[in-house]
Symmetry: C2
Subunit: 149 residues, 2 copies
Protein backbone atom coordinates (compact mmCIF):
# COMPACT_ATOMS: atom_id res chain seq x y z
CA UNK A 1 0.00 0.00 0.00
CA UNK A 2 1.33 3.45 -0.89
CA UNK A 3 1.31 5.63 2.18
CA UNK A 4 0.11 9.23 1.83
CA UNK A 5 1.53 12.14 3.79
CA UNK A 6 -1.92 12.75 5.32
CA UNK A 7 -3.29 10.71 7.07
CA UNK A 8 -0.66 7.93 7.03
CA UNK A 9 2.40 9.91 8.15
CA UNK A 10 1.02 12.91 10.04
CA UNK A 11 -2.34 14.40 10.96
CA UNK A 12 -3.67 17.84 10.21
CA UNK A 13 -2.82 19.96 13.22
CA UNK A 14 -2.69 23.50 14.56
CA UNK A 15 1.00 24.25 13.99
CA UNK A 16 3.07 26.61 16.06
CA UNK A 17 3.84 29.55 13.77
CA UNK A 18 5.82 32.76 13.81
CA UNK A 19 6.05 35.91 11.65
CA UNK A 20 8.86 37.73 9.85
CA UNK A 21 8.80 40.50 12.44
CA UNK A 22 9.23 38.21 15.45
CA UNK A 23 12.70 38.09 16.99
CA UNK A 24 14.98 35.06 16.83
CA UNK A 25 14.74 34.97 20.64
CA UNK A 26 10.93 34.69 20.58
CA UNK A 27 10.94 32.10 17.77
CA UNK A 28 13.44 29.97 19.69
CA UNK A 29 11.29 30.27 22.81
CA UNK A 30 8.23 29.16 20.80
CA UNK A 31 10.15 26.22 19.32
CA UNK A 32 11.33 25.18 22.77
CA UNK A 33 7.80 25.39 24.20
CA UNK A 34 6.38 23.33 21.33
CA UNK A 35 9.36 20.93 21.46
CA UNK A 36 9.96 21.21 17.71
CA UNK A 37 13.08 21.72 15.58
CA UNK A 38 11.38 23.81 12.91
CA UNK A 39 8.61 26.41 12.86
CA UNK A 40 6.55 27.81 9.99
CA UNK A 41 6.51 31.52 9.17
CA UNK A 42 3.13 32.94 8.12
CA UNK A 43 2.17 36.29 6.60
CA UNK A 44 -0.80 38.37 7.80
CA UNK A 45 -3.13 36.28 5.59
CA UNK A 46 -1.88 33.09 7.27
CA UNK A 47 -0.13 32.05 4.05
CA UNK A 48 3.17 30.17 4.37
CA UNK A 49 6.16 32.35 3.49
CA UNK A 50 9.04 30.62 5.22
CA UNK A 51 10.42 28.01 7.58
CA UNK A 52 12.83 28.57 10.46
CA UNK A 53 14.89 25.70 11.89
CA UNK A 54 17.32 25.10 14.73
CA UNK A 55 19.99 24.97 12.03
CA UNK A 56 19.11 28.52 10.90
CA UNK A 57 19.38 29.72 14.49
CA UNK A 58 22.72 27.98 14.99
CA UNK A 59 24.24 29.23 11.74
CA UNK A 60 22.73 32.68 11.35
CA UNK A 61 22.52 33.84 14.97
CA UNK A 62 24.99 31.90 17.15
CA UNK A 63 27.80 31.40 14.60
CA UNK A 64 27.54 35.08 13.66
CA UNK A 65 27.49 36.23 17.28
CA UNK A 66 24.23 38.12 16.94
CA UNK A 67 22.10 39.22 19.90
CA UNK A 68 18.97 37.04 19.51
CA UNK A 69 16.56 39.84 20.51
CA UNK A 70 17.92 42.06 17.74
CA UNK A 71 17.48 39.63 14.85
CA UNK A 72 14.22 39.30 12.91
CA UNK A 73 12.89 35.94 11.75
CA UNK A 74 12.48 37.37 8.24
CA UNK A 75 16.26 37.87 8.01
CA UNK A 76 17.27 34.31 8.92
CA UNK A 77 14.41 32.07 7.73
CA UNK A 78 14.41 30.01 4.55
CA UNK A 79 11.90 31.86 2.34
CA UNK A 80 9.50 30.13 -0.08
CA UNK A 81 10.30 26.62 1.16
CA UNK A 82 9.52 23.50 -0.83
CA UNK A 83 6.31 21.91 0.43
CA UNK A 84 4.44 18.63 0.32
CA UNK A 85 0.80 18.04 -0.58
CA UNK A 86 -1.43 15.90 1.67
CA UNK A 87 -1.70 13.23 -1.04
CA UNK A 88 2.02 12.97 -1.78
CA UNK A 89 3.49 9.52 -1.32
CA UNK A 90 5.74 8.95 1.69
CA UNK A 91 8.44 7.28 -0.39
CA UNK A 92 8.59 10.22 -2.84
CA UNK A 93 8.73 12.70 0.04
CA UNK A 94 11.63 10.78 1.62
CA UNK A 95 13.53 10.86 -1.68
CA UNK A 96 12.98 14.63 -1.95
CA UNK A 97 14.24 15.22 1.58
CA UNK A 98 17.32 13.04 1.08
CA UNK A 99 18.16 14.64 -2.26
CA UNK A 100 17.87 18.21 -0.99
CA UNK A 101 19.09 17.46 2.52
CA UNK A 102 15.93 18.72 4.24
CA UNK A 103 14.96 17.52 7.70
CA UNK A 104 11.52 19.16 7.74
CA UNK A 105 8.92 20.06 5.11
CA UNK A 106 5.60 21.87 5.54
CA UNK A 107 2.45 20.23 4.17
CA UNK A 108 0.17 22.68 2.36
CA UNK A 109 -3.47 21.93 1.52
CA UNK A 110 -5.41 22.94 -1.59
CA UNK A 111 -6.50 26.20 0.05
CA UNK A 112 -2.88 27.24 0.49
CA UNK A 113 -2.94 26.79 4.26
CA UNK A 114 -0.17 24.91 6.01
CA UNK A 115 -1.78 21.94 7.73
CA UNK A 116 1.15 19.92 9.07
CA UNK A 117 4.92 19.58 9.29
CA UNK A 118 6.70 16.37 8.32
CA UNK A 119 10.15 15.41 9.56
CA UNK A 120 12.51 13.01 7.84
CA UNK A 121 12.23 10.87 10.96
CA UNK A 122 8.44 10.57 10.46
CA UNK A 123 9.03 9.45 6.88
CA UNK A 124 11.73 6.93 7.70
CA UNK A 125 9.53 5.43 10.39
CA UNK A 126 6.63 5.08 7.93
CA UNK A 127 8.79 3.60 5.17
CA UNK A 128 10.33 1.18 7.72
CA UNK A 129 6.87 0.12 8.89
CA UNK A 130 5.78 -0.37 5.29
CA UNK A 131 8.75 -2.59 4.57
CA UNK A 132 8.20 -4.60 7.75
CA UNK A 133 4.56 -5.09 6.76
CA UNK A 134 5.67 -6.22 3.31
CA UNK A 135 8.00 -8.79 4.93
CA UNK A 136 5.27 -10.07 7.27
CA UNK A 137 2.85 -10.47 4.37
CA UNK A 138 5.41 -12.26 2.23
CA UNK A 139 6.36 -14.58 5.11
CA UNK A 140 2.70 -15.33 5.75
CA UNK A 141 2.37 -16.19 2.07
CA UNK A 142 5.47 -18.36 2.01
CA UNK A 143 5.35 -20.09 5.37
CA UNK A 144 1.79 -19.63 6.52
CA UNK A 145 -0.98 -19.86 4.00
CA UNK A 146 0.79 -22.27 1.71
CA UNK A 147 1.74 -24.82 4.35
CA UNK A 148 -1.18 -24.55 6.73
CA UNK A 149 -3.85 -24.89 4.08
CA UNK B 1 22.63 -10.09 8.76
CA UNK B 2 22.89 -7.93 11.88
CA UNK B 3 24.49 -4.62 11.02
CA UNK B 4 27.14 -3.25 13.37
CA UNK B 5 27.63 0.45 14.08
CA UNK B 6 31.19 0.19 12.71
CA UNK B 7 31.74 -0.55 9.84
CA UNK B 8 28.18 -1.03 8.56
CA UNK B 9 26.67 2.32 9.58
CA UNK B 10 29.61 4.71 9.86
CA UNK B 11 33.38 4.64 9.50
CA UNK B 12 35.98 5.61 12.04
CA UNK B 13 36.80 9.23 11.34
CA UNK B 14 38.56 12.31 12.65
CA UNK B 15 35.64 14.12 14.25
CA UNK B 16 35.34 17.85 14.63
CA UNK B 17 35.60 18.52 18.36
CA UNK B 18 35.40 21.42 20.76
CA UNK B 19 36.24 22.05 24.44
CA UNK B 20 34.32 23.28 27.47
CA UNK B 21 36.16 26.62 27.33
CA UNK B 22 35.27 27.37 23.71
CA UNK B 23 32.49 29.91 23.13
CA UNK B 24 29.08 29.02 21.70
CA UNK B 25 29.96 31.30 18.79
CA UNK B 26 33.11 29.33 17.96
CA UNK B 27 31.40 25.96 18.36
CA UNK B 28 28.59 27.06 16.03
CA UNK B 29 31.18 28.26 13.50
CA UNK B 30 32.94 24.86 13.72
CA UNK B 31 29.63 23.01 13.27
CA UNK B 32 28.78 25.16 10.26
CA UNK B 33 32.19 24.57 8.67
CA UNK B 34 31.93 20.81 9.21
CA UNK B 35 28.27 20.82 8.13
CA UNK B 36 27.17 18.85 11.19
CA UNK B 37 24.30 19.25 13.66
CA UNK B 38 26.26 17.99 16.68
CA UNK B 39 29.84 18.25 17.89
CA UNK B 40 31.74 16.28 20.54
CA UNK B 41 33.33 18.00 23.53
CA UNK B 42 36.73 16.60 24.60
CA UNK B 43 38.84 17.19 27.72
CA UNK B 44 42.58 17.85 27.60
CA UNK B 45 43.22 14.07 27.46
CA UNK B 46 40.97 13.79 24.39
CA UNK B 47 38.36 11.92 26.42
CA UNK B 48 34.69 12.52 25.59
CA UNK B 49 32.96 14.66 28.22
CA UNK B 50 29.99 16.07 26.34
CA UNK B 51 28.04 16.65 23.15
CA UNK B 52 26.75 19.98 21.85
CA UNK B 53 23.89 20.11 19.32
CA UNK B 54 22.04 22.72 17.28
CA UNK B 55 19.17 22.13 19.69
CA UNK B 56 21.35 23.14 22.66
CA UNK B 57 22.36 26.33 20.83
CA UNK B 58 18.75 27.15 19.95
CA UNK B 59 17.41 26.51 23.45
CA UNK B 60 20.25 27.65 25.69
CA UNK B 61 21.64 30.58 23.71
CA UNK B 62 19.02 31.97 21.30
CA UNK B 63 15.87 31.33 23.40
CA UNK B 64 17.62 32.82 26.42
CA UNK B 65 18.88 35.83 24.46
CA UNK B 66 22.53 35.23 25.32
CA UNK B 67 25.42 36.83 23.46
CA UNK B 68 27.05 33.79 21.74
CA UNK B 69 30.62 35.03 22.36
CA UNK B 70 29.96 35.23 26.11
CA UNK B 71 28.66 31.67 26.58
CA UNK B 72 30.97 28.72 27.21
CA UNK B 73 30.35 25.30 25.66
CA UNK B 74 30.71 23.72 29.10
CA UNK B 75 27.64 25.62 30.30
CA UNK B 76 25.28 24.52 27.52
CA UNK B 77 26.49 21.07 26.43
CA UNK B 78 24.93 17.77 27.46
CA UNK B 79 27.55 16.28 29.80
CA UNK B 80 28.36 12.58 30.03
CA UNK B 81 26.28 11.61 27.01
CA UNK B 82 25.13 8.09 26.30
CA UNK B 83 27.40 6.43 23.77
CA UNK B 84 27.47 3.51 21.37
CA UNK B 85 30.19 0.87 20.99
CA UNK B 86 31.54 -0.02 17.53
CA UNK B 87 30.03 -3.52 17.76
CA UNK B 88 26.53 -2.42 18.83
CA UNK B 89 23.74 -3.52 16.51
CA UNK B 90 22.10 -0.87 14.33
CA UNK B 91 18.60 -1.97 15.29
CA UNK B 92 19.38 -1.70 19.03
CA UNK B 93 20.95 1.72 18.54
CA UNK B 94 17.86 2.94 16.67
CA UNK B 95 15.62 1.73 19.50
CA UNK B 96 17.79 3.59 22.04
CA UNK B 97 17.64 6.81 20.04
CA UNK B 98 13.87 6.61 19.58
CA UNK B 99 13.25 5.81 23.25
CA UNK B 100 15.40 8.66 24.55
CA UNK B 101 14.68 11.05 21.68
CA UNK B 102 18.33 11.44 20.64
CA UNK B 103 19.26 12.49 17.13
CA UNK B 104 22.99 11.89 17.54
CA UNK B 105 25.16 9.53 19.58
CA UNK B 106 28.96 9.37 19.82
CA UNK B 107 30.66 6.03 19.18
CA UNK B 108 33.43 5.27 21.69
CA UNK B 109 36.07 2.58 21.15
CA UNK B 110 37.63 0.27 23.75
CA UNK B 111 40.39 2.79 24.43
CA UNK B 112 37.82 5.42 25.47
CA UNK B 113 38.40 7.53 22.38
CA UNK B 114 35.46 8.82 20.38
CA UNK B 115 35.79 7.38 16.89
CA UNK B 116 32.57 8.39 15.12
CA UNK B 117 29.19 10.09 15.44
CA UNK B 118 25.97 8.33 14.41
CA UNK B 119 22.78 10.16 13.52
CA UNK B 120 19.31 8.70 13.68
CA UNK B 121 19.14 9.27 9.93
CA UNK B 122 22.18 7.02 9.40
CA UNK B 123 20.49 4.30 11.42
CA UNK B 124 17.13 4.56 9.70
CA UNK B 125 18.83 4.38 6.32
CA UNK B 126 20.72 1.23 7.38
CA UNK B 127 17.65 -0.45 8.85
CA UNK B 128 15.67 0.45 5.70
CA UNK B 129 18.40 -1.04 3.49
CA UNK B 130 18.44 -4.17 5.63
CA UNK B 131 14.68 -4.60 5.27
CA UNK B 132 14.84 -4.00 1.51
CA UNK B 133 17.58 -6.63 1.25
CA UNK B 134 15.43 -9.03 3.27
CA UNK B 135 12.55 -8.45 0.85
CA UNK B 136 14.76 -8.97 -2.22
CA UNK B 137 16.12 -12.23 -0.79
CA UNK B 138 12.66 -13.50 0.10
CA UNK B 139 11.32 -12.60 -3.35
CA UNK B 140 14.27 -14.34 -4.97
CA UNK B 141 13.49 -17.39 -2.89
CA UNK B 142 9.78 -17.32 -3.66
CA UNK B 143 9.72 -16.25 -7.28
CA UNK B 144 13.26 -16.87 -8.46
CA UNK B 145 15.10 -19.91 -7.28
CA UNK B 146 12.06 -22.08 -6.78
CA UNK B 147 10.55 -21.50 -10.18
CA UNK B 148 13.63 -21.19 -12.33
CA UNK B 149 15.33 -24.33 -11.04
Amino acid sequence: MQRKIIPDIVQRTELTATTIDATAEQAAKDMTAANVAAIIVLDTNKALIGILTERDLSRRVVAENKRPSEIKVGDIMTANPDTLAPNDRASDALELMLTRRYRHLPVVGEDGKCVAMVSIRDLYEAVKEGLEENIRETEAFVFGDRYSA
